[in-house]
Amino acid sequence: MSNTAVANDHHDDAHHGPAKGLMRWVFTTNHKDIGTLYLVFALFMFIVGGAMAMIIRAELFQPGMQLVDPEFFNQMTTMHALVMIFGAVMPAFVGLANWMVPMMIGAPDMALPRMNNWSFWILPFAFTMLLSTLFMPSGGPAGGWTLYPPLSLQTGNSFAFVIFAIHMMGISSIMGAINIIATILNMRAPGMTLLRMPLFVWTWLITAFLLIAVMPVLAGAVTMLLTDRFFDTSFFNAAGGGDPVMFQHIFWFFGHPEVYIMILPAFGVISEIIPTFARKPLFGYSAMVYATASIAFLSFIVWAHHMFTVGMPLGGELFFMYATMIIAVPTGVKVFNWVSTMWRGSMTFETPMLFALAFVILFTIGGFSGLMLAIVPADFQYHDTYFVVAHFHYVLVTGAIFGIIAGAYYWLPKWTGNMYPERLGKIHFWWSTISVNVLFFPQHYLGLAGMPRRIPDYAVQFADYNMISSIGGFAFGLAQLLFVYIVWKTSRGGKKATAQVWEGAKGLEWTIASPAPYHTFEDPPVIDDSKLAHGDITH
């Protein structure tokens, strides 16, 4: 249809704004609405999961049993993990993808808008069900989020609800991932070739592939748990020829790629932010793409590093040790490229950049402790201690969550049309960054000294560091309430943002007005190399 006036007539309701009231959000197919839903849901779950962490740290403030009974403590550690992983981090990244991917590639919306709605609207139901188990007479799941049998099979009436909640989260994630892949592969504006895509789009493309590959495996694993519990099967029962360790293999075949599902999009966010505030193109763009792909590939062949102590043939231990350590190479490429991007850049340090810099340093600490854990004989010592807790919280809190927060500050002006209050943002940054280290760094020492994780009490020699860690925890928790306030305040008003928002920002998303109109790129944009931040651009 060449005549756009005619096309507009036909699309009388395509150009309208959002509907009014609650039903706008329930029926919406708009990628920006759905992105907002995901992000608000994730923020809410972040607070819920954070409240559970506060209970854990309060109980661990001093040795001895003070506040909660051990059964409830175990429910808190289990639920904290499930809520943070499946309710906060993953939906937050899907929310960022929903908002940004179509705008970054010049698409009018996600490829499958109705399914996009369903991907989101399964989540509130799944989490209502999951959280409701805490109020069941038998209590919620308490065997750890990894659900290892035979312990997890002893969960009370809540067991089936937990399993089905995980199934629903899986369905949601798979549909979300399919949508993202179809959008990236099929909806790019003419001229937006694969190697011109922003790195956030690239990392999400690879993440989506990981999701589709491993979420069904998790579904299979928990289905076997369900049938072992209720239908007489013996997958994980040695008396019937099964093996409880088999669950760990299947689970971690999902679980290790899962950790990259939670960090690759953060790599993408950081790779957007650093070039903007260093006012230089990303160093080694294609190396970044290949490094991401290598990490994703390797993530499938390292799972048993989570189970060095269960008893594996020596060849297996060595294979998984070396394969794990190889991941340090592409990860090192990434860190090197971020640093090189900043080299001789004209840097400024707005809040997104501060979080990105903290990410680079603190995530690298988490990477190094991961390297330590990858060494089999060392892991025999560290396994199931607070060293592991410290490691994965550096990766997930100062990694994944700092990535999300950095992205939120970076794109809030685009979403709301308002600048966030920079001073408050900086306070949030320093407060978070200092307290998170007070919270997690001492846990390295606790772990090396032998304090086991997932236990509500501990020997008195661990008292000092636990108290320091708890104080850091409370401070970090409080800091995030400030973040909620900043987001709320920015959404209500503030200094108006320009279209480009940041002086050094490049890319299609910065060519449209702030706040981004309800519909963008209904006609594909003309790709202009000077407006692109990434890719095979000839300068």
Binding site: P124, A160, F164, A165, V217, M224, G242, D243
Partner: protein, 291 residues
């Protein structure tokens, strides 16, 4: 739909999707019902059926709307590509779901059972816990869970079922060929043959299950063999049933005159799904029955 005429220059973005939230209520009712049923409450099963009913209504409503839009010509070739990608990646997720169970079968046969029998690092496990256990596949484990059982011989009904599914793969390809040549009658007939073969497979499979439970002593409780056998063939059977239902819908739509030689995504999606189910069966036949 208020749209006067479809617009092919733009990617069609629907508004106000009303079915997804219905689906969310349906899936929640389904699983809350099932969980209550497993916990032994009486109303659980009814809630579960209600959930299934809501999901079926949702599917009819949702797909019906998509079909109406498709027939009215709202979808350009780019939308078609999105649908195709969606289906391909959905099938890939299904492949990975089956991979988990095939992986369990492999792990149990190649590692766990031999270890219980004392191989490798399992020497002490065997000596201390399961002395005298003779670890040969098929096994229901050292505790002889579920009692004596016999396995279903491969070159009996399973072989027949293999031939049925392979033939159905052929007939669905013939249907596709007929569709491309715009031979409507042949299309419907070939599809009918595929549907018949599909349901006949399910019928024979149910017969096998009855035979296994009543005469062979092989049940879901027959240790790791029973577990892997019934979970793999069971999930496959569910997929065949679903595929056959989808083929039936496609057949009815073909009879109503839907699909053209150029525009028939739904047909191809179901055909892909059918081939996927076929390939999984070949894996099953080889790894579960023959070996």
């Amino acid at each position: 739909m208020a749209h006067a005429a479809p617009d092919h220059s733009h990617y069609y973005v629907p508004h106000h999707a009303r079915w997804p939230i219905v689906g969310s209520f349906g899936i929640t009712a389904l699983v809350v019902g099932a969980a209550n049923m497993m916990n032994g409450s009486d109303f659980g099963v009814y809630l579960m059926y209600a959930g299934i009913a809501i999901l079926v209504i949702m599917l009819f409503g949702w797909f019906g709307q998509v079909i109406r839009e498709s027939v009215q010509g709202y979808y350009n070739s780019q939308v078609d590509t999105s649908f195709r990608m969606g289906m391909v990646w959905f099938i890939f997720s299904e492949v990975m779901f089956f991979a988990a169970f095939f992986g369990a079968l492999f792990y149990a046969r190649a590692l766990a059972v031999p270890w219980l029998g004392g191989e490798g690092t399992g020497a002490m496990t065997n000596a201390l816990l399961w002395q005298g256990y003779d670890a040969v596949w098929p096994t229901n484990g050292p505790a002889d869970l579920g009692g004596d059982f016999k396995t279903v011989p491969a070159f009996d009904v399973p072989l027949v079922n293999t031939l049925i599914l392979l033939t159905s793969g052929l007939t669905v390809t013939m249907a596709h060929w007929a569709l491309k040549k715009a031979r409507r009658r042949a299309l419907v007939l070939w599809l009918a043959a595929t549907v018949a073969l599909g349901f006949y497979f399910v019928y024979l499979q149910i017969g096998e299950y009855v035979h296994a439970y009543t005469e062979l002593g092989l049940t879901l409780g027959s240790g790791i063999y029973g577990s892997t056998f019934f979970m793999l063939t069971g999930f496959h059977g569910m997929h065949v049933t679903l595929g056959a239902i989808m083929l039936t819908v496609i057949m009815l739509r073909s009879a109503k005159g839907h699909f053209s030689d150029e525009n028939h995504f739904a047909f191809e999606a179901v055909a892909w799904y059918w081939h996927f189910v076929d390939v999984v069966w070949l894996g099953l036949f080889l790894l579960v029955y023959v070996l």
